[in-house]
């Protein structure tokens, strides 16, 4: 079984790399698209199979060299594989009709697929990295490819967003690397890469000097927070999410942020014996509350659709931080459900931008208006996305937020949970208000929607809506499921 798991792990990373390289070999746009899509289906198949194995055998984690496949890997791999596949499928609809951009038009599509698949490969490898140092290298590797994708449109705002993303996240990851150096230097008898393995770190943590371990942990978390987009180091996030091509925005929000949050979570589990449970929890709870507090006021403002989704990412990463910080089994079940539900709902929201901007181009800069009148298919995609993200029942995010908050109360963090509940309620009202405003009213500068993009929106709504409903149905059974029990033991 270990051989099969390791083979699937290498395939999950190798297939997108191969697709990235093969997409450069042809000169025709359509052929490049075809290679990109075939590569995406293969990658999602391999990663999906690996995620299934990890979840089915969640009690028996596989560690082989730099590969670790456990329950946490399974959850995050499944999410990254699903969002990556959906993003690949909608990419041709975005790419059609693009004329000028960051890259020369003749090769722009080739660069897009190269960056897309390399970014996806790096993302898929993060949850299966068995080592803090390797995980850092992979997170850093996501930066270069995704920064170019953020600026893909070549517009001035996209250049600003891409540049800000590149510089700020690189600075953050440099600080995180300093944390890794300090952790390595403080680990007794550290000799070689294996000393940074998650298991080795946890074993040696109890013998680390407390002060140095705290410095390492704080540097590591502060640096990773920049990439996760936790407040107050989130400045790149609204810009990059709003300026990137919609399929890339979906990957950034639904896959990149949670993948790096998993590295932060694994770091907490590994270093907790040295840092102390209280300190480690406080750091996560601090980031969680700060992210909610910063995000909520923006959810009340009439923002452009993608910018609104970006601030909602900040809010949801805050919920995930709180769930990890509370550490209660119910909160951990909430984190699992939240990662999956947020990914699907957010990805759908970003994909809806493709038809939205075709018939309401001003929605790139200002809040959308009267979408329900102009394009019911796009309106239903936006409605299901924002309704779910707001936590409106029966959205899975309603259940996950309840789980996280209950976990907070049950773990003795009543004050934090109460403040979070108040902030989430305000966020809910803000998003519902934004939803009503964008659906109703007089459409401004509306053109006739294209039939093809409306069909795309309708199909995606059907698929993602069904998946969200399935998540809600399974929510009740989730806290007692084997994967969550395995996660609780691991985090324990």
């Amino acid at each position: 079984m270990t051989d099969l798991v390791v083979t699937l792990a290498w395939l999950s990373v190798g297939l997108p790399v191969a697709a990235a390289l093969l997409s450069q070999l042809t000169s025709r746009d359509r052929a490049t698209d075809r290679i990109g899509l075939i590569g995406a289906v293969g990658t999602a198949g391999a990663a999906g199979a690996l995620a299934t194995l990890a979840l089915v055998r969640s009690g028996e984690p596989v560690v082989s060299g730099v590969v670790l496949v456990d329950a946490a890997s399974g959850v995050f791999l499944a999410v990254i594989a699903a969002v990556g596949l959906l993003s690949a499928l909608v990419s041709p609809a975005y790419l059609d009709g693009r004329e000028r951009g960051f890259f020369a038009p003749a090769r722009a599509r080739h660069w897009y697929w190269l960056g897309f698949h390399l970014f996806w490969a790096a993302l898929l490898s993060v949850p299966i990295a068995a080592n803090l140092g390797v995980a850092w290298l992979l997170v850093e590797a996501t930066t270069a490819a995704s920064a170019l994708l953020v600026a893909y449109s070549g517009r001035r705002n996209a250049l600003e967003a891409g540049w800000k993303y590149l510089v700020l996240t690189t600075i953050g990851l440099t600080v995180a690397l300093l944390g890794i150096v300090v952790a390595y230097a403080s680990a007794p008898g550290a000799d070689g890469l294996s000393a940074l393995g998650w298991g080795s770190l946890r074993r040696s943590a109890s013998e680390m000097p407390h002060e140095a371990a705290v410095v390492a942990f704080v540097l590591l978390l502060a640096g990773l927070a920049t990439k996760i987009g936790w407040a107050p180091v989130h400045n790149w996030l609204p810009d990059a999410h709003s300026e990137a091509p919609p399929p890339v925005s979906a990957l950034l929000s639904a896959a990149l942020l949670p993948a790096v949050a998993l590295v932060a979570w694994r770091s907490k589990v590994a270093l907790e014996p040295a840092v102390g449970g209280g300190t480690a929890r406080a750091v996560f709870l601090g980031f969680g509350l700060a992210s909610l507090a910063v995000a909520v006021p923006f959810l009340w403002r009439p923002l452009a659709w993608k910018r609104l989704l970006a601030y909602s990412s900040l809010e949801h990463m805050g919920v995930i931080a709180l769930g990890i910080g509370f550490g209660h089994p119910l909160a951990i079940a909430g984190v699992v459900l939240h990662v999956a539900g947020h990914a699907l709902a957010k990805a759908l929201g970003f994909y809806a931008t493709i038809p939205l901007l075709q018939f309401q181009p001003q929605a790139a800069l200002r809040s959308a208006r009267g979408v329900a009148r102009t394009s019911p298919a796009t309106a239903s995609a936006m409605g299901i996305s924002l309704g779910s993200l707001s936590g409106l029942p029966p959205s899975p995010l309603f259940f996950s937020e309840v789980f996280v908050l209950l976990g907070g109360f049950l773990s003795g963090h009543a004050a934090v949970a109460a403040v979070a509940a108040a902030l989430l309620s305000l966020g809910f009202l803000g998003l519902v208000h934004a939803l009503i405003e964008s659906m109703l009213g007089e459409p401004r500068d509306a053109r006739v929607p294209e039939r093809r993009s409306s069909r795309l929106a309708a199909r995606l709504t059907l698929v993602v809506g069904a998946a969200l409903l399935a998540l809600s149905v399974t929510a009740i059974a989730l806290p007692d499921s084997a994967p969550v029990e395995a996660l609780v033991r691991w985090a324990g």
Partner: protein, 205 residues
């Protein structure tokens, strides 16, 4: 690495925050990277082969970054100097104060020498200060390299050195980031006719 060498590294970083010309800043960062590589190479006797490889990679990094940044500079001549919001003396003062502050506050973090610990955090702080205080894209990219040089200094001061995979991986990553940064710099230059990031202020809420 001797205390004198590590403080020269910090001095070079402070000069990067202060100097006006981009070419001078590139020369300073190249000198800093080369000095770091040579300093690490001098430590190789008695250490592992991995450490030797890592120190040679540091020297190679200095050459690669100098070539990359110099090439990018030659293709993007600024029509007018990019004036920063803060005058040079104030930039120097702010960066030096920040560096001294973090050096004094940092507790022992397990490196071989105390001076390396202080210089490491000082370099990271000055790198961040460079990104914040300088407006030109190339200066901001140089700030990233200065901060990364701080980490490389820490890696040489770890008992036995950091694992080679991490050292080489981090070096490769910084080179890739600088390649992407120069691509951005050139594209921004095409768009604005200058590498001044103040031209990129359209995204506000």
């Amino acid at each position: 690495m001797s205390g004198g060498v590590v403080w020269v590294l910090v001095g070079l970083a402070l000069a990067v925050v202060t100097v006006r010309r981009r070419s001078a800043a590139i020369a300073l960062v190249t000198a800093q990277s080369a000095l770091l590589g040579i300093g690490a190479f001098a430590l190789t006797p008695g250490r592992s082969t991995e450490f030797l490889v890592a120190s040679l990679a540091l020297v190679a990094k200095a050459a690669v970054l100098a070539a990359l940044l110099g090439w990018s500079l030659s293709g993007t001549r600024e029509p007018h100097p990019v004036w920063d919001d803060t005058p040079p003396i104030l930039r120097f003062g702010l960066a030096a104060t920040l560096a001294l502050g973090v050096s004094a506050l940092i507790p022992s973090i397990g490196l071989v020498e105390r001076s390396s610990e202080q210089a490491t955090v000082a370099l990271v702080a000055i790198g961040i200060a460079t990104v914040v205080l300088r407006r030109a894209t190339l200066f901001q990219a140089l700030g990233l390299v200065v901060a990364e040089n701080g980490i490389a200094l820490a890696a040489t001061a770890v008992e036995g050195g950091m694992p080679l995979v991490i050292e080489l991986g981090a070096l490769f990553d910084v080179i890739v980031v600088v390649v992407v940064a120069t691509a951005f710099h050139e594209r921004i230059f095409d768009e604005l006719g200058s590498g001044d990031t103040h031209g990129l202020r359209g995204l506000r809420d």
